[in-house]
Structures are given as structure tokens and as C-alpha cells.
Amino acid sequence: MTSQPKKWSAAAMFAVAALATKTACAQTGGDTDYRWLTFTVFAVIIVITMVVTYLAAKRVRSASDFYTAGGGVSGFQNGWAIAGDYLSAASFLGIAGLIALYGYDGFMYSVGFLVAYITVLLLIAEPCRNIGKYTLADILAYRNDPKKTRVVGALSVIAVSTFYLTAQMVGGGVLVKTLIGINYETSVACVGVLMLSYVLFGGMVATTWVQIIKAVLLVCASLLIVALVWAPYGFSLPAFLQDIVLDPRVQSRVASLLGDPAKNMTALELGQRFLEPGLYFKAPIDQISLGLALIFGTAGLPHILMRFFTVRTALQARRSVVWAMAIIGGFYLLTLFLGFGAAHDVGPANIAAVDAGGNMAAPLLAQFIGGGANSLFGNFMLAFVSAVAFATIVAVVAGLVLASASAIAHDLYVGVVRAGKPVTSQGQVRAARIATLIVGALSIAIGIGAKGQNVAVLVGLAFAVAASANFPCVLLTLYWKRCNTGGIVAGMLVGTVAAVGLTLVSPNLTYPKAVKAAAHKVLDAETTKRSAAAEALASADPGVVAKGKKDLAALDKAVAKAKADIDKWGDATTSFMGLEEPLIQMKNPGIFSIPLGFLAVLIGSLLFRDRRAEELWNEVYVRQNTGLLVSKSTAH
């Protein structure tokens, strides 16, 4: 049994590496001269993680090994692993990009991701360690009807993980495609197969190490870039930011974001505006709603909760969170320099030209400070940051797949389908591996199927469901005596339906009528703009001519897009939900759906009294506070 997975894992991994190298070598164009460098760096990182998985596969014997690395992870290690699990490509590349394109508001975004861990630290981590075993539903099933709560708990875990996973797979596919130039489907398949081999053969042991390696690489890469960016200013914050304010490219970016109001502003005022709020976030309530989903949703993310079962005691769980907070907080501070540094060195317009969302800000900055596109070190830095981004996606996806697989195998199969018929430890591991294979294959299929879709909304949705369904249920079963099965079932259903439902009628979806109206507006203005550009081209001033050419190119692009939009939507007038326009103007449902989730748990618990749940309260409450018996229940 043990030798077979080993052989498979080795074979599968080499196949992935070979596939990645072969497809990529077949590509030409671009900086082909340095392509070998990119592959060397990717190969080195992949080989390191393979070796770790190979070693880990030997240690995975029981269900506890597979789901929780046998509980043998230290608080310090787990802190790094949590950071590795949490710092997704969206936060690494996305936030650096937002800061590079929108300045202050991008940085504000990152604060919520750190504050979220206060909720985890104070209310969730230690009780979960003391009460749970492998999954989120273990906590719910402790004093409630095990079958019912496992079913709703597992479904919610699968929903949250699927939303998050789809966003990661699509984002990962696009990223790998942009970074190393292989096609989208191959990129998704590479991410999927690599992740699958870690989880399938190495379970939580390999996943933990892959996450630790990725977090260390990410922090090292960021520190190196920030040191190089900041050193010329003698590590002075005002001096560094002064240079951002004085940068003409930053100033023109602000002018284009502000539009008409910018006309009366001096260059200096425009630059300073980059350090002030309001360039990205326009609706304060929506932003608060997003903030609430972040700070309560993190505590309900199943792949993060699962990490607390890998340590032995509440003390270690607490240490994990404090370490994770130090690493995550430190990293987000670095994004300030990554983002502003990219705005200054690469220029917002150049970043947006490669990727409108700004995702390439950090890699491009790395290339620039290494010496630029034609230097060996510049390309090494680009390759290194790209490989780190790739490792980031694979590590996050591995954590998500493990969380969904445990919900299917441990909660649904062992806990519900085989309820009352004990499954052997080997049988449990087999079930976990089969579930992993299914989830992994599905995630690749979904990733390829969702090609070209706007999946940014899905990350927000994952946090919203976690905050509105998982968080109220976990919190109240731990802290409220009267909480019971009725409350958990109601809370999970209402929280999930509210978050998903509100998102479906929000402006996040595409409304063909509005898209077509905007497209027609572009086409209507085409003639006027074209004649203005023609006038500019005829000018004697080379500056005006250059601007005219640029305007003309932009106009051509906009017109082509408008025509494509009109063709694409044809006669359609309503969104996917059959609405002509959004029912609510909020993009983030949290501010409504979180209270609704809590209310549902309260009402559900009061409507359906459950004596057993209340009788077990003493036990739950003592155990979550003291950790009594915990070391015995995890030692197998």
C-alpha cells in the first residue's frame, strides 16, 4: 500500500514537470533567451516540493495523518503554514496591483485581511482545537444531531471551498499563462495535477510543508524586492513616498482616474492625491460590508479552521495564530512598498497595459529592480517571483482541496453514509484519497470550464458565505448554551442562501442592457473623437501628435470592444437571474447576510428545543475552555 502511492507520486510529479517544460519549450517569442532561466527556477521549486511530498507519503498511514498530519505540527510551523494557506495569489499579486494602480485604497484593502485573525485568535482557534478533530462539521456535530449537522456543515464547506477554488484555478490558469506563456488549459491542468499529487500522496503532511515552503519563499522574495526598492531612500518612509508624489506617471494616473475635477489641480496635488483615500472605493457602506465579511469570514474558512487540528494543544493553536499574524501583517506592510514601488518604477499605465487588474505589478517590479527586461538578474527576479506566485496558487489550492475532501470523506461518507458501521483507519484513508481525487478532478474541470469568466466575485462570495453561515454556527455552538441542531441547520441554510442570493441580484453580475447602453454610447461618440484625433495628428507639435496617436489607438480598442459586446449580448436584456438591472446596489452582501445568519441560528435554536444539546453544554464549555481530555483524544 505504501510503496504504490510513492511510485505513483514520483511518476505523476515528473510527468507534470516534463509536461510543463515541454509545452513551454515549444513556445517561442517574447524573451525566449531567458526562458531556460524561468524553467530552471520553476523546476527547482517543484522538485523541492516533490521531495517533501515523497518523504511525507511515507508518514501518511492513518486518517489522522492524512487530515491533520497526526497532530504533530508545532505552533511555529503551523503559523507559517497558515500564512501559506491564506496569502493567495489574489492577496500577493492582487493587492500589490491595487496599490500600484489606486494608491491608498489598495493598502486599506490589506488591513482587513490581517484584522480578520483577531477573530480567529480570540474566539475560534483554541476552542476549535479543544473540541474538534478533523473538520468544521466535527465542531458542529459535537453536541448537536451528528448526521444533520454533518450534512449541512459539509455542504457549506464544499460551497465555500468550491467558490474559492474556482477563483484560484481560473486566476492561476491566467497567471501561469501570462507568466510562462503556456496555454490556459495546460496551465490549469498543471496546477491541478501538481496540487493533486501533493494532497493525494502526502495528505496534510505534504500540504503543510508545501505551504510552509511557499510562505518562506514569498516572504523572502518580497523582502528582497522591498530592500532593493527602498534602499536608495535610506529606508526613509517620507523620502520614498515623496518620490511617488513627484512621479509624473503617478500624477497622470491620478488625473485619468479623477477625470474632470483633476483639471484644476497642480501636478503636486495630483501626486499627493495618490496617497489619499477614494480612488478605488466609491461606496462606503459597501466597503464596510466587505470589511465585515473579511474579518468574520476568515474565521469560517474551512481550510483555515482545519489547520488548527494539526497542532496538539490550545497553546500551540494560539501560538500558530500569533505567528501567522506576524507573518501576514509583515507581508501586508511590504505590499505598501511593492505597490508604490511598482507605480514608481514600472508606471501604472504600463502595469495596467499587461493586466487591467494590476496582477503583474509585483513581477514587473521584480524584473525592473533586477536590471530590466534585457538583463540576466532582472529575468532571474521575474522568474523567481513568477515561480513563487505559481507555488502560492498550488499551496492554496491544495489546502482547499484537502478541506473539501475531508468534508466528503470524513463527514458525509464516514459520518453519515456509514454511520453506526465503524470504518477502519485504512478504509478512512482510502475514502479520503478517493474524495481528493474526485475534488481534484472536478476542480480542474471547473477551472477549464470557467475559462474567461469574471471570477473575482467568487472570492468575495466565499468570504461572505463563510461569514454568514459557518461563522455564526461555529461561534454560537461554542458560546451559546441554547444553541442546537435546529439553529445550526437554519443558520447554515439561511446564511448561505442570503449571501448567494444577494450576490445574484447585485451589480456583480453582467446586465446586458447596461453593457449594451455603454457600448452604444462609445459608438455614438466615435465620430467626434475620431475627428478630434485626426486634428491632433495634423498638428505641428510632436507632443500633440503622439497624444493623438495614443487616443486613436485607445478609441479603436474601445470601439472594437463595444461592437463585440453588442454582438455577444444580441437581444438579451436580462442578467443570468432574469433581471434588467440589479435589485440592490451593494456588491458585498455581508452587512445584511451576516446578521441574517446569526438571527437564523437564534430563531432556529429557540423553535426546536434539544435537551441533548443543552445537557452536553457543560461538557463543551468546560472542554473548550480547559482543553481537558484533548491530548488524549488526538493521540491515536
Binding site: 488591513v111 513616498l241 496617497l275 483615500p277 462606503p284 453506526g420 465503524p422 481530555l629 483524544s633
Partner: protein
């Protein structure tokens, strides 16, 4: 399968040490929670409704808004360290005392039983 042993959970709940631990912990945790949520929300509120304050330059080009955002990191990590110290020097000690007293009464580990019950008995 190990022989189930009952722990008198109600007795622990009634133990004055546990009661004191519970009330101090509750006050501390929820108090800190409230402080951090309120402090966190001040950032978007300030950025939206008090832009004039956020724009005031205090350290070269560095304005109040930037310093406030940076202070979120300090406050958040500060609360984490404060809690961590309080927990290991205080809460953990009391919990360990209670555990030691009651663990004497527990002859056989009930962990396996506990693990099985979740799987439906």
C-alpha cells in the same frame, strides 16, 4: 474501544475557579474583540467621511490616513501579543489547575468514545 468514563462536567462548571476563569475570560475576549472591530471600522469610516482629516500631512508627504492605516497593524498585533501573554500567564495556569484536579478522577481516556460518537452511535 476504550471503556467510557464519565467526567462530572457540571461539577467543573460549578467550581468557583472555573466560574472566575470564565467570567474574566469572557470580559477580556469580548472586550478585545469589540475594540478591534471598532478600530478596524474606523478606517473605512474615516476614509469615507473624514477625508479632510485623513489628508492632513504630518510627516513630509505622509498624511494622517496613511499613519492611521499603519496604526491598524500596530493595534492588531498589539492585541494579539497582549492576549497571548495574558492567556499563557493567567488563563492557562488556572485551566491547568482545574484540569489536574479533575483529571485525577478520570481513570480511562474517553477520547476514543468521543471520537466515535460524532460518527453516530
Amino acid at each position: 474501544m476504550t471503556i467510557p468514563v464519565t467526567v462530572d462536567w457540571a461539577a467543573i462548571i460549578e467550581d468557583p475557579r472555573f466560574k472566575r476563569l470564565h467570567s474574566r475570560k469572557t470580559r477580556f475576549l469580548w472586550g478585545m474583540m469589540a475594540v478591534s472591530v471598532v478600530y478596524f471600522l474606523l478606517l473605512p469610516i474615516g476614509a469615507a467621511y473624514f477625508q479632510d482629516v485623513f489628508k492632513i500631512k504630518v510627516w513630509g508627504v505622509v498624511n494622517v490616513g496613511l499613519l492611521f492605516a499603519l496604526s491598524e497593524f500596530v493595534v492588531t498585533l498589539g492585541i494579539a501579543i497582549l492576549y497571548s501573554r495574558k492567556a499563557s500567564s493567567d488563563f492557562d495556569v488556572v485551566a491547568a489547575e482545574i484540569c489536574a484536579d479533575f483529571a485525577k478522577l478520570v481513570a480511562t481516556p474517553t477520547g476514543e468514545r468521543r471520537a466515535d460518537r460524532g460518527v453516530g452511535v
